[in-house]
């Protein structure tokens, strides 16, 4: 099994979710994060004072998947999240050794 972590633009979330559903991935977990990278934050001006907002709001998606479909999931995320501009984000794939569905206690890929 693989644990996929994707950091994407907030407004691509719905598209990514739909792309994943189309590939049979039902479950995922999302959180709000702040990204630092090539894409620079903004300067906001309040009453003439400049405030440098270094970070950029992003969302992080976490998805546990069967190893067999990991590549296609990564690809799907890439396609759905891509706008071609700096700041589109990253996808990371980590090894996943175990999984449990809390409700039933099922283990392994059955739990996903």
């Amino acid at each position: 099994m693989k644990y996929i972590i994707a950091v994407i633009q907030p407004h691509r979330l719905d598209a990514v979710r739909e792309a994943l559903a189309a590939r049979g991935v039902q479950g995922l977990t999302v959180s709000e994060v702040r990204g630092f990278g090539r894409q620079k934050g903004q300067t906001e001006i309040y009453r003439g004072a400049e405030y440098n907002i270094h970070y950029v709001p992003k969302v992080k998606i976490e998805i546990a998947v069967d190893a067999a479909i990991a590549d296609s999931v990564v690809e799907a995320i890439g396609e759905a999240a891509r706008t071609g501009r700096i700041g589109d984000g990253k996808v990371f794939v980590l090894p996943l050794e175990g999984a449990m569905r809390v409700r039933t206690g099922e283990m392994g890929t059955d739990a996903l």
Partner: protein, 405 residues
Amino acid sequence: MIDAGDTAWLITATALVLFMTLPGLALFYGGLVRAENLLSVLMQCFTIASVVTVLWLLAAYSLTFSGSGAWIGDLSKVLLIGVPRDAAAANTKIPETVFFMFQMTFAIITPALIVGAFVERMRFGAVVMFSVLWLFLVYVPVAHWVWGGGWLAERGVLDFAGGLVVHLTAGVSALPARHRARPRLGFPHDVRPPHAPWMTMVGASMLWVGWFGFNAGSALSAGADAGMAMTVTHISAATATLVWIVIETVKFGKPSMVGAVTGAIAGLATITPASGYVGPGAALVIGLAGGSVCYLMVMVVKHRFRIDDSLDVLAVHGIGGAVGVLLAAVFADAALGGIGLAEGRTMGGQVLIQLTGLIAVLIWSVVVSFIIIKLVQALVGLRVSAEIEEQGLDLNIHGERGYNM
């Protein structure tokens, strides 16, 4: 004789001006600081309101409005003793209690305005001590000079609702206070942006509406004077708002909400001293002047002098008040739609008197505030530790958080 109509309006005006501080100004300032310092600002406003109230009763009212000294009043109305329940305030048809209360709301908001200069870093005890001393050593004497029959009143200085007494004193006293308190950590580059601009807008709206009490209430009656004062106040606020919006649109292409409301406050502060003397056309000009001069000063203070006047007390209130005090002399002229200058007084003469008042109040406020702040520093210290400043005042000083979501 007490008139019910005048009294009705003045009680209402008192409520409006109190509303300007609680919660108006508190929200206006509170929205501009970090979330971790929100409660400290609200607490400072709330505490100043309470402390000033008690001191006003104990001595400050009497020292301001009782007696006929050129420099300071006397103590004969301490605790309002000797003021019969149904006595009318001098030259009015409202009960003296109402006059006492109305004036008290001015004495509350003035030191609360100064808070804007040292938010996010000053000790709570230092804020309270500064405010108490400042009330007695700056506000009370200046209010006596101008409104209590003191030497400036005798020269015929024009200050309808507090350009000198409120905005100039607060604005320039912010200078030494801020100077000694030094800038916030990270100023000017890494200061956090206003945590809740929406809250600043709500506070500004309350200030705007409450200002009707401030300026139209200063007529001390419900008639044509109050009506015109309200009208010019509103026009100046709206005009200065538009000035700010236009400048920001031209300069940045992005008219900001925080900018617009700052413009409104600038327009309101500027018209204040003139609001009882001028007509609607003049209000347009005063709004234009207040809006543009204050905009310029905010830039100058921040960028040229690199002063951390956190919430622009000097640039908006100090400068706005000063501009208004001078323009009052000009537009009070009957030829320009005003109520006319005193018999035999020329516009030049009146400008001179206004200048005298301005310079005297400026010097007095700066010097005395400087002494007070040094004293407070020596006695209790001004700043919190860098660690507390970083973590925010709310949790460390008040044991609470503004938000527990």
